[in-house]
């Protein structure tokens, strides 16, 4: 009986996770190395992958920096009332609850060319929606909780006493952060960063709504795969998808490693 259950579990996982990856790999190679290379070196694929890379880099940097600061304030700042903290704390989870497509739509409604704010910015020559800034904003919205949710519990767990001890020994804010707080949260930050990279690499819904998926302008790797499938160029779609999948697997391994380090400290 037990064997049956174990076998069944394996089967489900193989069907759900294994088969698609194998299928993608096979699909990418069904025209041999040439087809795979062609799929990746098309100008639109190069552009889309570059866009994705740019978004991932920008989002990761912004998200990490503000995520750590936000967590510090949410846990440590005494001047924020407990009610306000609770409210902010639940707002952090909003992107988890809201569908990314809705998130993208909110940005279009707020900053699109037809909105007051978007019109104003447009008149000043700054384009947000259907351009890179909007895509970064949409991805930021989706990935916002990831770093915070990793760092906050650790900050709560280490408490304020070690920081107070540092201040009694003469250390001011920055020294205390650098020498006492940071070494204890860094692996959580790394874990949050890895999650952010993975999420922004694969983000589709929010970006699709905000970008308009304009070829050579606002197309990312995921929206390119979507378009390739629509156009029945499956080999090219599989090639790009395989690169994305390989990236995700690499990140997964990195994540496991970060998690094991997190436990050490």
């Amino acid at each position: 009986m037990r064997r049956l259950w174990i076998g069944l579990t394996f089967l489900v996982f193989a069907l759900l996770l294994g088969a698609p990856v194998v299928r993608i790999a096979m699909g990418a190679w069904d025209e041999g190395w040439r087809g795979f290379a062609n799929g990746l070196t098309r100008p639109e694929a190069v552009h889309a992958l570059a866009m994705t890379g740019l978004i991932v880099a920008a989002v990761t940097v912004i998200n990490t920096f503000f995520g750590v600061i936000f967590s510090m304030y949410l846990v440590r700042a005494a001047w924020l009332g407990p009610r306000l903290k609770k409210l902010l704390n639940s707002i952090v989870d909003l992107p988890f609850a809201v569908s990314p497509v809705i998130g993208g739509l909110m940005i279009v409604l707020l900053l699109g060319p037809d909105s007051a704010l978007g019109g104003l910015l447009g008149a000043a020559g700054i384009k947000i929606v259907y351009a890179l800034p909007g895509m970064i904003l949409a991805t930021l919205f989706v990935t916002f909780p990831l770093v915070i949710r990793e760092v906050m519990p650790v900050l709560q767990e280490i408490g304020t006493q070690q920081e107070e001890a540092a201040s009694m020994l003469g250390a001011y804010g920055w020294t205390t952060f650098r020498r006492v707080t940071w070494p204890q949260i860094r692996w959580s930050v790394v874990y949050g960063v890895v999650l952010t990279v993975a999420r922004s690499l694969g983000e589709f819904g929010a970006v699709l709504v905000v970008s308009g998926n304009i070829l050579f302008k606002t197309q990312t790797a995921t929206t390119l795969v979507y378009q390739d499938v629509e156009n029945f160029s499956l080999t090219s779609a599989n090639a790009v998808a395989l690169v994305l999948a390989a990236g995700s697997v690499a990140l997964l391994l990195l994540m496991e490693w970060a998690k094991s380090r997190q436990k050490h400290v």
Binding site: Q161, E164, M168, V265
Partner: protein, 354 residues
């Protein structure tokens, strides 16, 4: 360092944690802040350290007001309740931290760390991390870390609370010895009266944010100034109607006055064991409990219950035995006043003998 505090007040929301506290501490003394949990002891300590800002009142070190000085500049060593060691640093790293922050030269840091490791008996453990140490060792690391930058005042928040009873005893005498040797003014917080009595030069009793009494342990025991202090220090039973006890009939003159009687104020025995039999009265043994080195005897005199100790060398008593009871003194108190009353018959008799 000479420490003075005037009219110190601190509120946390509606909760008045510290109420108008005044005291001064001479250089080189070891002071125990004693009181029940949540009484404001730790708040006072944290305000001295600068980790908490007083709502009103002044804190003076060497006669200079330090209220506006941040904790970094106060030159105080602080030992936290759970030690708050830097988990990611070795013993050496922890001790050196304050010196590195103060930009001491490398060679002097090395020297000072070695000196403190030696002083606290941590030789051989320099490279260990806090989680590889026992509770007592962690406490000594915290102590060494606080002392490293040569502070003029050492504050300790419940320094022994997290250590098991047996090692606690050892550490207490170790700490006392260490502080004596260094001659550093120290204040420690505790809720354990034995600890305060054993270690401190002077005790400050804190309850509900008030400083109830300050004095040497002996003064406080002998001469408690408030009912709270009398009941908090030592063991005691409260007697509602003291005037019913033989020798304390005069207490009737103060209606509403209660008596506090310590076990050591009560003497019991067979009639032949007393010299002044007339001052005793007859009671009955209610309950006996073996306490390892003596008997704890609960007795009933009329309707009054008393508690006392009896040596194991004396004849063994049994519940229900009739016995002579002599109450030497009682600490009387009412809403406005408190004083100590000696057994009148005992005094009279002695007077006659002379």
């Amino acid at each position: 360092m000479h420490v003075e505090v005037r009219g110190l007040n601190k509120k946390f929301g509606e909760f008045h944690a510290v109420k108008n506290v005044d005291f001064s501490i001479a250089k080189g003394q070891l002071i125990g802040l004693l009181g029940p949990s949540g009484g404001g002891k730790t708040s006072i300590l944290r305000m001295l350290a600068g980790l908490e800002t007083p709502d009103s009142g002044d804190i003076l070190f060497h006669g200079k007001r330090v209220n506006d000085l941040p904790p970094q500049e106060r030159g105080i060593g602080f030992v936290f309740q759970n030690y708050a060691l830097f988990k990611h640093m070795t013993v050496e790293g922890n001790i050196a931290f304050g010196l590195e922050v103060k930009k001491w030269p490398k060679s002097r840091i090395k020297e000072r760390v070695a000196e403190l490791v030696e002083l606290t008996g941590l030789s051989g453990f320099e490279k260990r991390y806090p989680h590889q140490l026992s509770g007592g060792q962690r406490q000594r690391v915290a102590f060494a870390r606080a002392l490293a930058p040569e502070p003029q005042l050492l504050l300790l928040d419940e320094p022994f609370a997290a250590i098991d009873a047996k090692i606690r005893q050892e550490l207490r005498s170790w700490l006392r010895e260490m502080i004596d040797r260094l001659g550093i003014t120290s204040i420690f917080v505790t809720h354990d009266q034995d600890e305060a009595i054993e270690v401190a030069d002077e005790i400050m009793i804190i309850s509900k944010g008030n400083l109830e009494q300050k004095g040497t342990p002996w003064e406080i025991y002998k001469n408690p100034q408030t009912p709270f202090v009398a009941s908090f220090i030592g063991e005691s039973t409260i007697v509602e109607d003291v005037s019913s006890l033989r020798g304390f009939e005069d207490a009737r003159a103060w209606p509403g006055t209660k008596g506090l009687i310590r076990p050591e104020y009560v003497e019991i025995g067979k009639p032949e064991e007393f010299q002044i039999l007339s001052a005793t009265e007859t009671g009955r043994v209610k309950h006996l409990q073996f306490r390892g080195s003596e008997w704890l005897v609960e007795l009933e005199v009329g309707s009054t219950r008393l508690v006392t100790y009896r040596s194991l060398e004396k004849e063994v008593l049994h519940p229900g035995d009739e016995i002579q009871v002599l109450v030497h003194r009682a600490y009387l108190f009412n809403d406005n006043d408190s004083w100590i009353m000696e057994n009148k018959l005992k005094e009279d008799r002695m007077y006659v003998e002379i």
